[in-house]
């Protein structure tokens, strides 16, 4: 009798265990994917955007990618130019990158540069003179594109962390958020000025401390990470 009960209990435990594992796997497999953002943005005519971002090394879900960047953008859905760091599934840490595009769907370039050291604070700026858009890290240019190639006029800046799978970690944790500061934009009269951005986030676990009045410095983190 004892043996029978033991077998029955063992079978039940196995079943519960299997169900738990299967639910967990299914949860992982079913995680929604898309574009998820967290940080600040502002609609303003501009010739560029800049911000200082702390480098951290977030968890990236299978086949996904995570980034954080400064962007100037136009009205079209793919009118943008950005510079920052990103991490692709399979990398041990993040790398610097810049990327630009237009909505006509005939232009998209993405250049990935060297490793970005965790713990460093770097100023990322993407801004134009009268002929070219420049992508800079700590005031050193790593790339440029003629404005005539881009073909759009900036009407907003976005300074955001970005994930693509609900299981990705928004960079930062509760105890060690990513610090972001010195948010600026370049006016149409070529002056860099401080800007208070408006808060924006897509998912409940994506947190930031930008008040409703806006801010030029803030933190972002993932509330699922202590």
């Amino acid at each position: 009798m004892k043996i029978t009960r033991c077998k029955w209990f063992s079978g039940l435990a196995t079943l519960i265990c299997s169900l738990a594992i299967s639910t967990s796997i299914s949860h992982q497999a079913d995680a929604a994917t898309g574009f998820y953002f967290n940080g600040g943005m502002k609609f303003v005519s501009n010739k560029g955007a800049a911000v200082t971002i702390e480098t951290q090394n977030p968890y990236v879900a299978k086949d996904s990618w995570v980034s954080i960047w400064a962007m100037t953008a136009g009205p079209g859905s793919a009118d943008y130019a950005q510079v920052g760091y990103w991490k692709v599934y399979g990398w041990s840490g993040p790398k610097y990158f810049y990327e630009y595009s237009n909505t006509d769907d005939d232009l998209w370039y993405q250049k990935t540069l060297g490793n970005a050291s965790s713990g460093s604070h770097n100023n990322f700026s993407v801004g134009s003179d009268n002929s070219n858009m420049y992508f800079k890290i700590n005031d050193i240019s790593y790339g440029d594109v003629p404005l005539s190639t881009l073909g759009w006029t900036p009407d907003q800046i976005q300074l955001l962390a970005e994930t693509h799978d609900e299981n990705d970690q928004n960079p930062g944790s509760i105890s060690n958020p990513v610090s972001i500061g010195s948010a600026q934009y370049k006016t149409t009269s070529d002056r860099w000025v401080s800007v208070k951005v408006d808060e924006f986030h897509d998912l409940p676990h994506m947190k930031n401390n930008i008040p409703s009045t806006g801010s030029s410095s803030w933190e972002v983190w993932d509330s699922r990470y202590k």
Binding site: S77, L113, G114, A116, E162
Partner: protein
């Protein structure tokens, strides 16, 4: 049965650069003189890249390399597959490779931040994954997560370090 990537990649490389199976067996070694046939193939690939819209648009200059390097083709391919991320390299319609002397003229000081890797006159392997769905970092409110494009991975031909990766398209 699914064939391992190494086999497929070798087959694709061979097909892409038109080498014989004997030459393919020599992929593990990199000699000062890669052989006249191979040199011609590399030279043609270097010319194709130098004239490509992606390299011209992004200030990437390449020249034929005629010196010995320490990293062989297979090692460079593995490094490039790691750089492109996930198993994306497996999905390429075609993979081509060449040795070249590489300069990124748009990097103001000629050195990459943090990693201190030079991008001026560097002997490199350039591994091109053709027709890959690359992840894009978008803009809030944008649509497509992937762009189908050719991806060029630049690997230091003496240290095996990942230098740069450029993906993109210009024109419909």
């Amino acid at each position: 049965m699914k064939k391992p990537f190494g086999f497929l990649a070798s087959a694709v490389i061979v097909a892409a650069i038109g080498m014989t199976s004997v030459a393919a067996a020599q992929l593990n070694t990199s000699s000062p003189d890669p052989g006249q046939g191979k040199s011609a193939v590399y030279a043609a690939e270097v010319q194709r890249l130098a004239e490509s819209r992606t390299f011209v648009d992004n200030g990437l200059e390449v020249q034929v390399l005629d010196e010995a390097v320490k990293v062989d083709e297979n090692t460079a391919l593995e490094a490039a597959k790691h750089f492109i991320g996930s198993s994306r390299g497996d999905t390429a319609k075609k993979v081509t490779m060449t040795l070249a002397r590489f300069t990124d003229t748009q990097v103001e000081q000629g050195i990459l931040s943090d990693s201190n890797l030079s991008v001026q006159d560097v002997p490199v392997w350039i591994v091109t994954f053709h027709g890959v769905d690359m992840p894009r970092n978008g803009k809030a409110g944008s649509g497509k997560q992937y762009v189908n494009a050719d991806v060029h991975v630049i690997i230091d031909a003496n240290t095996g370090e990942e230098i740069e990766m450029i993906a993109g398209k210009h024109g419909k």
